[in-house]
Amino acid sequence: MILWWIGNALLLLVVLPVVVYLLRGVLDAARGIVPSVNRIAAAASAGSKDLDAAPLLLTTQDQVRQTVEVVAGYGGSLDVIIDDVEEE
């Protein structure tokens, strides 16, 4: 009978607190991840929205190509009408 009481005491005073401590640690860690994940989701959404202007790069690409063509035409014309530097 004495051993039974000793076992009960160990169960209530040692096992139960250890179980509660360990489970609480797991729960705290899991709850600590939630805000971080929410911030990551918000950042990904904002980053996706920032990239909405990416298709404008197609326009930029076309305009750069046209600009370089104009520059090439202008440069080619200058090459024809301006004499080269005299070689020393």
Binding site: A30, V34, A41, A44, A46, Q61, L78
Partner: protein, 304 residues
């Protein structure tokens, strides 16, 4: 049941309750994490999708810009020389010469000349190309391109052209026609009669040239004195002919006068054709002669 058994049961129940509470709470937290990760993955997926063509486009843009830079740098060095090109760059963008030209690594070692202060070579050419060429904006004597006294007007005045002297009045351009300051009397008649005042009024200004004649004799017309004509005047009066001065028809039958002013040689002249007769078209569709074909081919071959 002994009291110790009751206490044991209570202890086990407490442990089970603690396990249930914390494990359920952990499950809820993990589900929230899963939902958050799903949102994050969706956002990252959009980012990947939207940024997929960026690399290719930016590469193409950079390639075009590189070509433009290569072109401009090459043109600048070709036209101004490497040293002067560095001086020009330094004059336009102070401090930029230290970076040098991308395609000319040796340009970093060049001490840029002070072209922004004194530079004359090619200024006039650049001035012709663009009046606001920045190359002359910092000239010690002021903006040459906008300096009228020292600009193109000064150089232009060196040419012996009356208009450069800005005269207050220039001689008028010659006027032709009946209103011309110098009238040339008609000296020659080429068919028809010389239009009189009434005919001029009726026909309008186009008939005025006929009133003056084609070429006056004193200017070497076909009836000019022999010494004024060329050695072989092929178009003399004999060749050009002259009007008869008579109303008598030149042919035996003449033009049917019944048509009056609307007379036409093709309908009112020529032989009488029986009514219903077909025109003779036997030669109209005849192919070219073989001699002509051979001659044309020979000409084409020699031309090529």
């Amino acid at each position: 049941m002994p009291a110790a058994g009751v206490v044991l049961i209570i202890a086990v129940v407490l442990i089970v309750l603690a396990l249930v509470y914390y494990l359920v709470s952990t499950i809820v937290a993990l589900r929230q994490i899963t939902n958050g990760l799903d949102e994050a993955i969706a956002g990252v997926g959009e980012i990947i999708e939207k940024s997929a063509p960026v690399n290719e486009i930016v590469t193409d843009i950079n390639k075009n810009l590189d070509a433009g830079v290569d072109l401009l740098e090459g043109l600048l060095v070709k036209k101004a020389g490497l040293v002067d090109a560095i001086g020009l760059v330094e004059g336009l963008y102070p401090g930029a010469a230290a970076a040098g030209l991308r395609n000319f690594p040796e340009s970093k070692e060049i001490t840029p000349p002070r072209i922004s202060e004194v530079y004359t070579k090619g200024t006039l050419t650049l001035a012709r190309l663009g009046r606001e060429a920045p190359i002359a904006a910092a000239s010690p004597s002021g903006p040459v391109l906008r300096n009228v006294a020292g600009g193109s007007l000064d150089a232009r005045s060196r040419y012996p052209e009356v208009r450069q002297t800005r005269p207050s009045k220039l001689a008028r351009s010659p006027v032709i026609g009946t209103g011309a300051p110098v009238q040339y009397p008609p000296s020659e008649q080429r068919g028809g009669t010389t239009p009189g005042e009434g005919e001029l009024d009726e026909k309008g200004p186009w008939a005025e040239t006929a009133a003056e004649g084609v070429v006056p004799a004193e200017l070497g017309g076909s009836d000019a004195p022999r010494e004024m004509l060329a050695e072989d005047p092929q178009l003399g009066s004999a060749a050009l002919g002259e009007t008869t001065g008579s109303d008598v028809p030149a042919t035996e039958k003449g033009i049917d006068p019944s048509a009056g002013d609307e007379a036409d040689a093709t309908t009112d002249g020529g032989p009488d054709v029986p009514e219903g007769a077909e025109p003779d078209l036997k030669d109209a569709a005849a192919p070219p002669r073989q001699v002509d074909v051979d001659s044309a081919e020979t000409t084409d071959d020699s031309a090529t």
